[in-house]
């Protein structure tokens, strides 16, 4: 009997899960964000939380959008608008809330349950979470609530200011006294050091280095070394291909472009063409270093 009851419960649970999955909308979610018009709201000053969702489909409503529980905020209003366009539908919900206590409030992400149209699977999409820093009451509110309190605060502020000024004055006096007592150092003769010579290798030097590398090793490895030197010469980075390098301002003269092409060929051509390609690269290097 117990087994039968367990079976019935399991079947019911499974059918509920299937029913839930079937009731989900089929959506291509491209945006789901949670924002606020200020992240530093003040106590008792209403502000807005804005939920924005964009889907590629044209829909009239978002069915399974869950807003987080706003336990530390008082809900004052909620309105939403759904706008259809050529690229899909944008859903925007504006929630008006107010904070009654200062401090940090973290709002959990908004979630949207839907069948992801990209892969046909039920998916829970989550927005970002939001952290708000609620500051004390604004001046206007404080003024209307407690005038006497303002006077007391002003008095204490002035006392603190006077104490700070006195403290700084004492410290300055002690420092001045110490400086006056210290013997003056004998002025050392000024030594001007020559600035270090910058290690700038001119293009000719680098071309000669490339030529030497290729002459020393007439193989693919040698060609790659020469190619590396020439790429450094024109300022190429590791992320740049030959086409990127050719767009650089230093590579607008025909000789350099021909050399880069020749070295690219020597670096990547098939074995039967390798010796011819290396000879072409050497000839170009010799022409440029002559």
């Amino acid at each position: 009997m117990l087994r039968i009851l367990t079976g019935i419960v399991l079947v019911s649970a499974a059918s509920l899960a299937i029913a839930h999955a079937q009731s989900l909308q089929r959506l291509t979610v491209t945006q789901l964000t949670l924002a606020a018009d200020t992240t530093t709201p003040r106590i008792e000053m209403p502000f807005h939380l804005i939920v924005t969702a964009h889907v590629r489909e044209r829909i009239s409503e978002l069915d399974n959008l869950d807003l987080p529980i706003l336990a530390e905020l008082e809900l004052q209003g909620d309105e939403h608008v759904t706008v259809a366009s050529r690229t899909g539908t944008t859903y925007r919900e504006t929630i008006t809330v107010v904070a009654h206590h200062s401090g940090t409030i973290t709002i959990a992400p908004v979630t949207l349950d839907a069948i992801d149209a990209r892969n046909g699977k039920p998916t829970r999409f989550s927005s970002n979470s939001l952290t708000l820093h609620v500051a004390g009451p604004s001046a206007a509110i404080a003024a209307t609530t407690n005038v006497f309190g303002n006077f007391v605060a002003l008095f204490f502020f002035l006392v603190r200011l006077v104490l700070w000024v006195l403290g700084i004055g004492i410290v300055l006096f002690i420092v001045a006294a110490l400086v006056r007592r210290r013997p003056r150092p004998i002025a050392a003769p000024a030594v001007t050091l020559a600035p270090p010579k910058p290690v700038i290798r001119d293009p000719k030097t680098q071309l000669r280095a490339a030529l030497a590398a290729l002459r020393a090793d007439r193989s693919r490895a040698g060609a790659m070394r020469a190619r590396h030197i020439v790429r450094q010469m024109v300022g190429a980075t590791d992320a740049e291909t030959l086409a990127d390098v050719m767009r650089r301002p230093l590579v607008q003269d025909r000789d350099t472009r021909d050399l880069l092409r020749a070295l690219e060929r020597a670096g990547f051509t098939h074995n039967a063409d390798l010796s011819v390609a290396i000879a072409a690269a050497l000839a170009q290097l010799e022409r440029m270093t002559a």
């Binding site: 789901l32 489909e57 044209r58 149209a117 992320a239 291909t241 990547f268 051509t269 098939h270 063409d273």
Partner: protein, 307 residues
Amino acid sequence: MTEGPAAITHALERTIVGQKGVIEGLLLGLLCGGHVLLEGPPGLAKTLACRSLADALHGEFKRVQFTPDLLPSDIVGTRIFDQRESAFTTVRGPIFANVVLADEINRAPAKVQSALLEAMQERQVTIGPQTHPLPDPFIVMATMNPLDSEGTYALPIAQMDRFLLKIDVSYPSRDDEFAILERFAIGDAPVIAPVATLEDVRTWRTQAHGVHVDDALKRYIVELVVITREAQHPAIDYGASPRATLAIANLARAKALLDRREYAVPDDVRAVAPLALRHRIGFNFRVSNDGGPARVLDELIARVPVP
């Protein structure tokens, strides 16, 4: 008949204005013997490009409009009983062509999609008791519309993987659109005369297969694919499979052949990598906040040092 694949490019450029990426992508697919997925809004000459390619090759072109009520036999063919002969005869479906355009492939249910994709993979179809080889060259060009996903059946990633490359077809520039108006306002698109034979295509494919890819370049290709799996990018759920590695290498060879070279260079790999990777990566919804799949992919590719 021709001096090279560039002849087809020139022929297609007479009909297709602007879409150089589409023309090159179709040619790369043809040279590699792979299938092409085109994604773009309606009205961007996707069908015209596919038909023009078939015309330029003197090949047979068939178009299948995918709909929710399409059956596998509508694509591969069926057997019917001939009462005069008292025997079954085979009626071949539209898949028996050199260039097959599967228009809006995601509108048909999974059973039809898998029938087509199985034929794409095996290059043969079985109708009743008989197995029929498909013609050579055989290239499927499937289109998808990204703007309207209502009533569609998304292609599973395993089936997307069967396509060698995916081309994102975008709107033409102002100048190109003006040229389209000048060229096609009065009549239909000009008919393309054949500039190559099917035998030429088979020869080019053999040539492309022989293009040299150096070991340094092979390692670069592997790194490009591995970074999609290991980058831990928040917009990526899963990276590309080793089939992407093979696809990039083949496409780079074809690209080198198009540029009349017998060896591939890093520029070839960099140019074809997005075409082979974009549809093989599982992007999640966060990709929109990061600028879209193309931008995320560009960012990953830029992280890998060029040999």
